[in-house]
Amino acid sequence: MPIVIKNLTFTYSAKTPYEKKALDNINLQINEGDFLGIIGHTGSGKSTFIQHINGLIKPQEGEIEIFDLKLTPAKRPKVDLRALRSGVGMVFQYPEYQLFADTVEKDVAFGPKNLGLGADEVAQRVKHAIEMVGLDYEAVKDRAPFELSGGQKRRVAIAGIIAMQPKMLILDEPTAGLDPFGKEQILNLIKYLKTHCSPTIVVISHDIDEITRFANRIVVFNDSHIVYDEPMQQLFKHSEQLQEMGLDIPRAVKVVNALRDKGIDLGDEIVTAEDLLKAIITRYNAVHSTNIDENAGVFDMYDFSQKWLTSEEREALGLISTPQGKTQDDNKARKSNKIFGSKSEKKNRSSKKDAASKSKNKEGEE
């Protein structure tokens, strides 16, 4: 069932000198199965908007229809907020700051417990959620969240939301502050959750190159209004207008535009790195009469098949492991090194030595 937002308007500090309209007559329909990206610069209203969807902010004007519930400014009938919030999982910016319990297991259990579920059900969901975010349940469940790395903490925080098994997941700046590898892990996790957990996903991000990697539709907020709502491939017809609003456009679009200025037209609807590679190869083939497979350009920041990645790292990157299929022994064997990285740390050290010596060799050659 789609989520329908009608004529939503919201003003902060109304009737004071600090009055600010954050949302002005917003109309939007979010369909089941949407992978929706929301962009807009700081203060454009996008955060205020998503807080309405799971009932953190009550509408002042307008209404929201969501899973048989109707959110309106009226005081009655009372909305079943528990049903709403178990249906819409919200992952805030830097969610790891909200970890509070003394073990990972307790932290992840907080949500489902508060939904009033039985102990067995809670325990089962917690295990499932922790495994789903790519962590080893047995190895992390009794650890304090604060002992984990930044990327791992963030995944624990996301597990806490997933454990409520929301039909829809909203993530606000999910990769902010992570290193490139941690970013890649979270992006893969989000894609994985789309198919295995929450069929509808909304992501807010400042990084447009990140959004274009998975969104099928992009909504642009500017100055309390929705100014564009387009399929991802169509949005960047408005590159100029987006840039005037102070928004970034994908790097591939920038390259295409720069080439067009120099008289080389690669075509429309080039948004991602893969699109760009394909268009360049096609054009190259035409100009040089070559016959390169137009899908030969592979843009992978981290190639899973490369041998320099340890098996743990490959697994972590892909997040494609199916923990259910593993034997206890497998888990035990990996337990010692997967989380604390003792083994992989050593491997890293040696690979880094290799890297360092390679660089020295290169210097020598030069």
Binding site: D207, V255, S359
Partner: protein
């Protein structure tokens, strides 16, 4: 020599029996006036290195010298901290006063600087980061980029010769990031301040004179950004990346489209493509 690290090791106790070397036998020197970008994945030791520079952490072995003064000498530590200003990741954690100019004055006040001189320094520091018109306002309603520039002004008022930005752009939107980066480059060019910029954004390293890559508590690569980005396979192996345009060029190269190597930014990529297409 602005910064000299001689065989520095720093170990954390993680429990009674285990220690982790966050920085291992690191030797490094940085000339005054250099703009250094420092990258490494989480846990590579770069933030530990930053904290060793102004004596927030002291080496377990080896020595850190700032303009010849060792952080191990207790009577030099104030001078070292005056010379090494640090700005951290979260803009909200670094504001202490409710008015911008009070916030900037906090540092020099604590050093016992004369009132007239404090006023001069506050004005100078705020104008350096382009925030002079906000001097009577409150920092709490500002954007992340403005708050970080204010944090830089607070550090400048102490008149440091070295500015360390410890992931100061990580929490900002693209506009805020470019504001902070611009200020850092201006301070480096116009005032000769040595800048050590720690970041996860590879493209932010492009403008630097020198790029140092940390891994496992040691230096994995050290050179101009252009030189370092040639080692893209090795960089990925230590959980880092190369700029997007470099990655595109590499992917094309692998597919058989000869764009040549050494591409690090959009202009270079577009120029090479123009010749080919």
């Amino acid at each position: 020599m602005a910064v000299l690290l001689d065989n520095v090791t720093y170990s954390y106790n993680i429990n009674d029996t285990h220690r982790i070397d966050a920085v291992k036998g690191l030797s490094l020197h940085i000339e005054e006036g250099t703009f250094v970008a420092l990258v490494g994945h989480n846990g590579s030791g770069k933030s530990t290195l930053a904290k060793l520079l102004n004596g927030l952490l002291l080496p377990t072995s080896g020595e850190v010298k700032i303009f010849g003064n060792s952080t191990l000498e207790p009577n030099k530590i104030y001078e070292i901290r005056k010379n090494v200003g640090m700005v951290f990741q979260n803009p909200d954690n670094q504001m202490i006063a409710s008015i911008v100019e009070d916030d900037v004055a906090f540092g020099p006040e604590n050093l016992g600087v004369e009132r007239e001189e404090i006023i001069r320094r506050v004005e100078w520091a705020l104008s350096k980061v382009g925030m002079l018109e906000y001097r009577k306002r409150t920092p709490f309603k500002m954007s992340g980029g403005q708050k970080q520039r204010l944090a830089i002004a607070g550090v400048l008022a102490i008149k440091p010769r070295i500015l360390v930005l410890d992931e100061s752009t990580a929490m900002l939107d693209p506009q805020g990031r470019s504001e902070v980066l611009k200020v850092a480059h201006e301070l480096n060019k116009q005032d000769g301040i040595t800048v050590i910029h720690i970041t996860h954004f590879m493209e932010e390293a492009l403008g630097a004179d020198r790029l140092i890559v940390m891994n496992g508590g040691r230096v994995a690569f050290d050179g101009t950004p252009r030189e370092v980005f040639k080692n893209y396979e090795e960089l990925k192996a230590i959980k880092l990346a190369v700029p997007w345009e470099t990655q595109v060029a590499i992917s094309l190269q692998k597919a058989g489209v000869d764009v040549g190597d050494g591409i690090v930014d959009q202009d270079e990529l577009v120029e090479r493509l123009c010749r080919l297409l």
